[in-house]
């Protein structure tokens, strides 16, 4: 009795909305921290450039928040509209973090309003900086809470299902599920990393386009340093995520790694393609999968031979995994070279070509975020709640999902174009050089 069309379009619509929302959400989680750091550095060094940096970032940030809020509202409602059966069950067990998330939004929204409108009113800059703390906390906690919900979908616990009846519900145990620690940490840290690289792209772009202002150089150095720190953290926590998968969701790891046979001393496959079930042209790193999965080169890693056909996730997630890890390693490397090069005065990092590489860093980080989410979500299939409810049983029975898909595609197109146009216009009409001069004359805008 599954309405196949409704199921298919519900999937498309969920994928579309989430993939769109996550871009804004990631920026929304990471950028407040960056603003805070810039403003703090500015106060400590008594350097107006950093204060202006914080101020300009904030202006761009409110635009992304606005789109984050509207797309977030869309996905929040769509979860109930498209997956009513899932939400009915989930509402019983995992509603608590979802509910707490709204408080985090509330908190952030209130203080962002105050922060924005007090630039010229609160004279003491330290006091003004304090207003950012609740914004950053609220943003990070909205990511924490929503990711807990997603972790629960991967490793449900905290209830018993007896003859289709939910009993012994324990909301706290549901929140503290085994997927939670690595997932939350990885999501939050990658948001910081991505935001740092996105902001670095902007600074690098200005330099490429001929500006030679020290303002952009300071911005670039600060963001690349932060990007490096968070890239290291990302790789370390990513490694823990692999260990989590090996223990609790071996089918996802096996599918992502094209690990067909259970074996010890398992090698890690990078890249390559599948030809009739044969892996071709892959780079094989001996022992590496055993190390990723268990931290021990001799450990046994479960392969797809132990997973029944109907529970095997789609194998294309291997490519997504490769994209994510490659980008992670590349950005780690790039920011490291930049840091060392700047400190040591290498001329390499001042070349136009190098700046171009940094310009592409921001979009690449966003691609990594998308690839990572697609990998973990598709890797959970066919389950919406792993081991409890299949995606096919969760979908709505409504007949109008296809029309809604069209409407929302139109909406997101408009929003995407709007964001880009507004952001470029905003900064082009009011370049830093201009603003610095205005400021010297004593007039902020």
């Amino acid at each position: 009795m599954v309405n196949d069309n409704a199921l298919m379009y519900s999937r498309f619509l969920t994928e579309l909305t989430l993939s769109f929302h996550i871009i804004y959400a990631t920026i929304g989680v990471g950028v407040p921290l960056m603003i805070m750091i810039a403003q703090w550095v500015g106060i400590k060094k008594n350097d107006d450039h950093y204060i202006l940096l914080a101020r300009r970032w904030t202006r761009g940030f409110v635009i992304t928040v606005a789109v984050g809020v509207v797309t977030g509202t869309a996905i929040g409602l769509q979860l109930s509209l498209l997956w009513p059966n899932f939400m009915e069950l989930a509402g019983n067990v995992i509603a608590l973090p979802l509910f707490m998330e709204t408080f985090a939004f509330f908190f952030e929204a209130i203080f962002l309003g105050i922060y924005m409108y007090t630039w010229d009113r609160i004279l003491n800059p330290r006091k003004h900086l304090m207003l950012l703390i609740p914004v950053a906390i609220g943003a990070s906690f909205s990511a924490v809470f929503i990711t807990i919900v997603n972790a629960f979908m991967n490793a449900p616990q905290g209830f018993d299902l007896v003859n289709g009846e939910l009993i012994n519900v324990d909301p706290i145990a549901a929140m503290l599920n085994p997927a939670m620690p690595t997932k939350v940490a990885h999501v939050v840290v990658t948001a910081f990393m991505t935001s740092a690289f996105v902001l670095a792209s902007i600074a690098a772009y200005r330099l490429v386009k001929g500006s030679n202002h020290i303002y952009h150089k300071k911005a670039l150095f600060l963001t690349m340093k932060l990007g490096f720190v968070f890239a290291v953290a990302t790789a370390i926590i990513g490694d823990f995520s692999g260990k989590y998968l090996a223990k609790y969701q071996p089918e996802k790891l096996a599918a992502a790694e094209w690990h067909f046979e259970t074996e010890e001393k398992a090698p890690l496959l990078l890249y390559g393609y599948l030809d009739d079930g044969e892996v071709k042209n892959a780079i094989k790193i001996p022992y590496a999968l055993s190390i990723l999965a268990h931290g021990n080169p001799n450990a046994e890693v479960i392969g797809l031979d132990q997973i029944s056909e109907e529970n095997t996730p789609p194998l294309y997630i291997h490519y997504l995994f490769d994209i994510m890890v490659t980008i992670g390693m590349w950005l780690l490397f790039l920011s490291f070279i930049y840091w060392v090069g700047t400190v040591r005065g290498w001329s390499l990092v001042k070349t136009k070509a190098f700046h171009w590489l940094i310009v592409f860093g921001g979009p690449l980080a966003i691609i990594a975020i998308e690839a990572g989410w697609w990998m973990t979500e598709v890797g959970r299939q066919p389950w919406v709640l792993r081991g409890i409810m299949r995606t096919a049983d969760a979908a709505t029975s409504s007949d109008h999902v296809d029309t809604m898909l069209l409407l929302f595609s139109g909406l997101y197109t408009i929003l995407a174009i709007g964001t880009i146009v507004i952001l470029t216009r905003m900064f082009r009409n009011n370049p830093v050089e201009q603003e610095l001069q205005d400021r010297k004359r004593g007039g902020w805008r």
Binding site: V62, V70, P84, E88, G91, N92, A109, V169
Partner: protein
């Protein structure tokens, strides 16, 4: 009080908060567009910008709070309402998205195109219409179970006079609430021209508000007799609400005590809103779903209520700070500080 009642009271209170705050917002957008359209933009524009800017995001969170909370406290609503509301709620989301983003684009981005504020104003009128359909559906008669799945009868809904009375009421209420509030706000800002314009709008929309409210009660008397009878048992609540309404209109008419007028207005809508809610009890969706058979388990309910109390302890002081800075700060309201 049982957990069910606590839960629905909390949610209903947040929905009430949304109705008031969003009405002011929607209405303000409409008046703004209207005044631009008739070439008098500079009368209202400043006042409206000043009020709307710092609070628009907070408004949206009230709505999010309600729909997340209702899934938490009454998970079965996801099944009934989730399946049936796909189309109206999707339309509402799109309108909200257009409004929210264009507002931000225009305010923080570059100074605006007329088309933006026009769409913004219009979306503010369609939104209450789209959202109020949920109330109509909750009265029953439009959702049927087919093979155990709820199905919405679009044609029945679209052609029912009840639907249209509720739509008219929601639009009139939005404009009336907004006009009364902005009359007070403009007076506080010492912007006499804007005060005059808003006062006129408040008086104009008072009539349609009462006519459509009366129309709904009449429609209900045959559409959903049980609900109508319970409303009649609570007649004194609605009577009191009507007296407060007269009070507001009287004050506005005589150009005195606009602040008191706003308080009476909130009282009027609170009484009507809770009166409506009580008389709807115990149904969430006639006749399929009641508070009791859709309620979550006890452990979750207690956890949610605990989280709610902790959250309020955090929010109320911050909300107070926001209001003090923007709504009650003479300098800000009058535009002396940025």
């Amino acid at each position: 009080m049982s957990l069910e009642i606590i839960g629905i009271t909390v949610l209903w209170t947040f929905l009430f908060g949304y109705v008031i705050v969003a009405s002011i917002d929607f209405g303000a957008g409409f008046f703004n567009a209207y005044s631009q359209f008739t070439g008098k933009e500079h009368i209202l524009n400043k006042i409206i910008q000043r009020y709307l800017s710092p609070v628009w995001e907070v408004t949206n969170v009230f709505l999010v709070f309600f729909f997340v909370g209702i899934i938490g406290f009454f998970p079965k609503t996801a099944f009934y309402y989730g399946t049936t509301l796909l189309v109206p709620v999707s339309i509402a989301i799109i309108l909200l998205a257009i409004r929210g983003s264009y507002y931000a684009f225009e305010t923080y981005g570059t100074k605006g195109h007329r088309g933006y504020s026009f769409m913004y104003g219009l979306a503010g009128l369609f939104l209450p219409a789209a959202l109020s359909v949920v109330l109509t559906i909750s009265e029953g008669g439009f959702v049927f179970l087919v093979d155990g799945k709820p199905v919405l009868d679009y044609w029945g809904l679209f052609t029912s006079p009840l639907t249209w009375s509720i739509v008219v009421l929601s639009v009139a209420a939005v404009l009336y609430i907004s006009a009364v509030f902005l009359t007070w706000y403009a007076r506080k800002a010492k912007d006499w021209q804007a005060t005059k314009a808003m006062r006129k709008y408040a008086l104009i929309w008072a009539g349609p508000l009462m006519i459509s409210a009366g129309g709904i009660v009449y429609e209900l008397s045959f559409h959903n007799e049980a609900h109508f009878n319970r409303m009649m048992e609570l007649w004194w609540i609605f009577g009191l609400s009507f007296l407060l309404f007269l009070g507001t209109v009287w004050l506005i008419w005589n150009r005195i005590k606009y602040g008191l007028a706003v308080i009476l207005l909130i009282g009027q809508f609170a009484l009507a809103f809770y009166g409506y809610g009580f008389s709807h009890y115990p149904y969430l969706l006639y006749p399929h779903l009641t508070l009791y058979d859709s309620f979550t388990n006890e452990a979750m309910a207690i956890a949610l209520i605990t989280a709610f109390i902790a959250g309020l302890a955090l929010l109320l002081p911050s909300l107070y700070l926001l209001l003090r800075l923007f709504l009650f700060n003479q300098n800000y309201v009058q535009g002396r500080t940025k």
